[in-house]
């Protein structure tokens, strides 16, 4: 039993934390988030250079990490810095390619890891409400390969991605696990309409409309109709990453709130001397420690059998969804009026914490999934 990270991971975390504090301050983040691109290309390549993307992949795929705890360390640091660069897309798409790709498809991993190729997962659809098997987008086989049609919602960095991982139905009904296929689609393929918008937690996303997009045979990732397992596996990495990101953001929100309680005076004394606030803060601390344990449990389960792994991931995402929202709400409340202002960095952490619960399944979704997996 040992809860210390390895020397390598500690160094990676230190490097990332230093970069994030020195280079990527909150003002720079605001500017990048408001830009047309929705993130900073300079930050992205600088982070790629210090190995933040490579750490997400095993050596066999050209990276230098790739275990659960590597991913957790990177994303916890990204969460601390409220980083908006397209790491999640790189992780999910990259891990899917690494797990199911042909040699030709895997050849794209090098560009993905050096940051020159931005990738995004285009999976969510209207009415899915987090149900992974809900896919209505259609792909039909023709003489040239595959013809793709449908609409994908809230594709993070969907406008900028050079490569999209798109789920589509090649057979079966809209909620069947069987019949889902995955396709690697160039971001500039003819027939894709990108309806971009800003996100409330910073940066951009887009709804993507695929209208008779012609793909070659080589676009299919993995076996036809058998994409669900690969999708679930890739999504699992996203769950772990979001949980760790949330933990990093919680830590900062907690720290800011604690400092505020120690310095803000009302009735002539620091507000932290009031027991009503002390107990709320003690609760917060306790919940954040439980969240940290949830992330550790999830990271440790990444190598386990499917049910053990997915249960640990759902347990973690449920915990993180509940606790992240709590930390956001409590931090704003304990700050009082100032917590309501754009000017305060905390407010942006709070928004991200709540929005993480809206990505890849919320607290309720994962509680139900945890129960279902237990009954299987």
């Amino acid at each position: 039993m040992n809860f210390e990270h390895t020397e390598d991971r500690r160094m990676l975390a230190d490097t990332l934390n230093r970069f994030i504090t020195e280079q990527a301050g909150i003002e720079a983040r605001h500017a990048a988030a408001a830009s047309a691109q929705g993130y900073s290309a300079a930050n992205w390549s600088a982070l790629a250079e210090i190995g933040a993307i490579g750490a997400l992949f095993p050596e066999a795929d050209g990276g230098f990490g790739g275990e659960g705890f590597d991913v957790a360390v990177v994303f916890e640091a990204l969460g601390r810095g409220l980083v908006i660069e397209p790491f999640l897309g790189a992780l999910v798409v990259g891990r899917a390619i690494a797990a199911g790709g042909s040699d030709a498809q895997k050849a794209q991993l090098a560009a993905l890891m050096d940051g020159s190729l931005v990738t995004a997962l285009a999976h969510d659809e209207a009415d899915a409400h987090y149900e992974l098997a809900h896919v209505k987008t259609q792909a039909t086989h023709n003489e040239k390969g595959w013809l793709l049609s449908g609409r994908k919602g809230v594709v993070v960095h969907g406008e900028q991605a050079g490569l999209l991982l798109v789920s589509a139905r090649t057979s079966g009904a809209s909620d069947d696990e069987v019949g889902i296929s995955l396709f690697l689609v160039p971001g500039n393929a003819a027939g894709i309409q990108k309806k971009g918008y800003a996100r409330i937690d910073g940066g951009r996303a887009a709804d993507l409309v695929f209208d008779q997009v012609q793909l070659g045979e080589e676009a299919l990732l993995g076996a036809e109709g058998q994409g669900f397992a690969l999708l679930e596996q890739a999504t699992g990495w996203a769950l772990l990453a979001l949980c760790a990101e949330s933990l990093g953001a919680m830590e900062v929100a907690k720290q800011h709130t604690l400092e505020y309680l120690q310095t803000r005076k009302q009735f002539g004394v620091p507000i932290g001397s009031f027991q009503a606030l002390q107990h709320r803060m003690a609760d917060l601390l306790l919940e954040v420690e439980q969240a940290r344990s949830a992330v550790i449990n999830a990271a440790a389960a990444m190598g386990d059998d499917r049910v053990t792994r997915e249960r640990a991931l759902s347990a973690a995402k449920h915990s993180i969804g509940r606790i992240g929202t709590l930390v956001a709400e409590e931090s704003i409340q304990m700050h009082g009026g100032i917590g309501m202002t754009w000017e305060l960095p905390l407010a942006h952490y709070a928004k991200r914490l709540v929005m993480i619960d809206h990505q890849f399944g919320d607290e309720d979704h994962h509680l139900a999934r945890y129960i279902e997996l237990g009954q299987a």
């Binding site: 809860f3 604690l258 027991q275 107990h279 439980q290 449990n297 990271a299 449920h318 945890y370």
Partner: protein, 398 residues
């Protein structure tokens, strides 16, 4: 980062499991499993079995009869005991007084009292709380006045758990009325058979006699029964309250309780299906199970920190708060699972050898009583609100 125990620790776990399988009497195990009342003889019998193996005082130094276990080993032992449904170790002598004597007692006191704790000659109870001093422990008023070679003690203690079985009580008494609150308190060992000591039962809400009031009227206590220095008893009290609290979360009890609850919820039917498949009940169970999974890791993190030379300190307050909340929630769900059969309260059914009719699902007789009894978890040992004060002061610096 590695959540697994070492092969040596796993071997130790096997050793404990084998011991429990061989030595835990089935009769005692069944009583604990069914939530039946344990007699004084039951508890003494389990102490004797552990003592014979040298595992009773498992956190004492080897010099005084402890096994020399690491923090991890102690955790494994308590966890396995909870899973096997052993009677608990009565903590007052072994876990509370013992460590204080070892740290603050003089040679004569250690040599006389410690072996008697181990061999069961003395049954100790705790004289801390008073009617006017609960969470505010430093408010003790029971007085001890030195007269020649003895103290004369007057006052009242309360919430004295299992005091009805005890022949000895360790007390916080005020020896200096003029000193500031925490100063002027002394730590005194009192023979319950001394003239002037009177014990009266307090019946708790579920009808049990577990706690007592103890009254002292001009009780003469030999001066050699003072532990540590006069007026420095607060140091002993504080030490006792922070000592060895890495298992305060009771994770083993919760894991055992969770298993019991799941088995129960799969037996009880609702709409023709097991209650465990009812979405509302399943959600309640899953929530607490997830919280418990997180708690297990939180607890191990604290133990790993202690094993690495750290002091649990205020982290034990986190374990106490969330650990007791989880235990209470599991008991609350077990009560809910009984449906209307949580209502019948047949007192005799809680004793061994009841042959009358049993009503409702297995375990129904004790479910509500256990739920009510264990409301105490978040109150005793420093209420959960006091624990939040400690976190706020010691960890957050507020």
């Amino acid at each position: 980062m590695d959540l697994n125990f070492t092969p040596e620790e796993e071997a130790f776990r096997t050793e404990v499991q084998t011991f429990l399988k061989d030595k835990l009497p089935e009769r005692l195990q069944n009583k604990v499993k069914q939530g039946l009342r344990l007699s004084k003889a039951d508890m003494e019998a389990w102490h004797a079995i552990l003592h014979q193996r040298g595992w009773l005082a498992n956190h004492w130094p080897e010099e005084w009869g402890g096994p020399g276990w690491s923090a991890v080993q102690k955790f494994i032992f308590e966890h396995e005991c909870a899973l096997a449904a052993t009677p608990r170790i009565v903590p007052f002598g072994v876990s509370m007084l013992g460590p204080v004597l070892i740290k603050y007692g003089n040679e004569a006191q250690k040599r006389y009292w410690l072996p008697r704790i181990l061999n069961g000659e003395d049954w100790w109870c705790q004289g801390y709380s008073e009617p006017g001093a609960g969470s505010d422990l430093a408010g003790v008023k029971t007085s001890a006045v030195l007269q020649g070679d003895h103290y004369v003690v007057n006052g009242q203690k309360t919430w004295t758990t299992l005091g009805q079985h005890a022949n000895m009580i360790f007390c916080l008494v005020r020896t200096d009325r003029d000193a500031k609150k925490q100063e002027g308190i002394s730590f005194l060992l009192i023979d319950m058979n001394t003239p002037g000591v009177e014990i009266r039962p307090i019946i708790t809400l579920e009808g049990e006699h577990e706690v007592n009031e103890v009254f002292f009227t001009d009780v003469k206590v030999p001066v050699e029964n003072l532990v540590g220095q006069e007026n420095k008893g607060w140091t002993c009290a504080k030490y006792l309250l922070t000592y060895e609290r890495t298992n305060i979360a009771g994770v083993g009890f919760s894991v055992a309780g969770m298993e019991k609850l799941k088995a129960l919820a799969s037996r009880v039917k609702h709409k023709g299906k097991p209650l465990s498949e009812d979405p509302m009940f399943a959600a309640r169970m899953a929530r607490v199970e997830i919280d418990l999974e997180n708690m297990k890791t939180t607890n191990l993190r604290v133990i790993a920190a202690v094993a690495g030379g750290g002091v649990p300190g205020a982290e034990s307050s986190m374990l106490k708060i969330r650990g007791t909340e989880i235990r209470q929630e599991i008991l609350s769900l077990a009560r809910r699972a009984m449906g209307p059969y949580a209502l019948p309260f047949i007192e005799e059914a809680l004793s061994e050898g009841y042959t009358g009719e049993a009503f409702g699902p297995d375990g129904a007789a004790s479910a509500a009583a256990a739920y009510f009894n264990y409301r105490k978890l978040s109150i005793f040992g420093g209420s959960n609100e006091i624990q939040k004060n400690i976190i706020s002061k010691m960890i957050l610096g507020l």
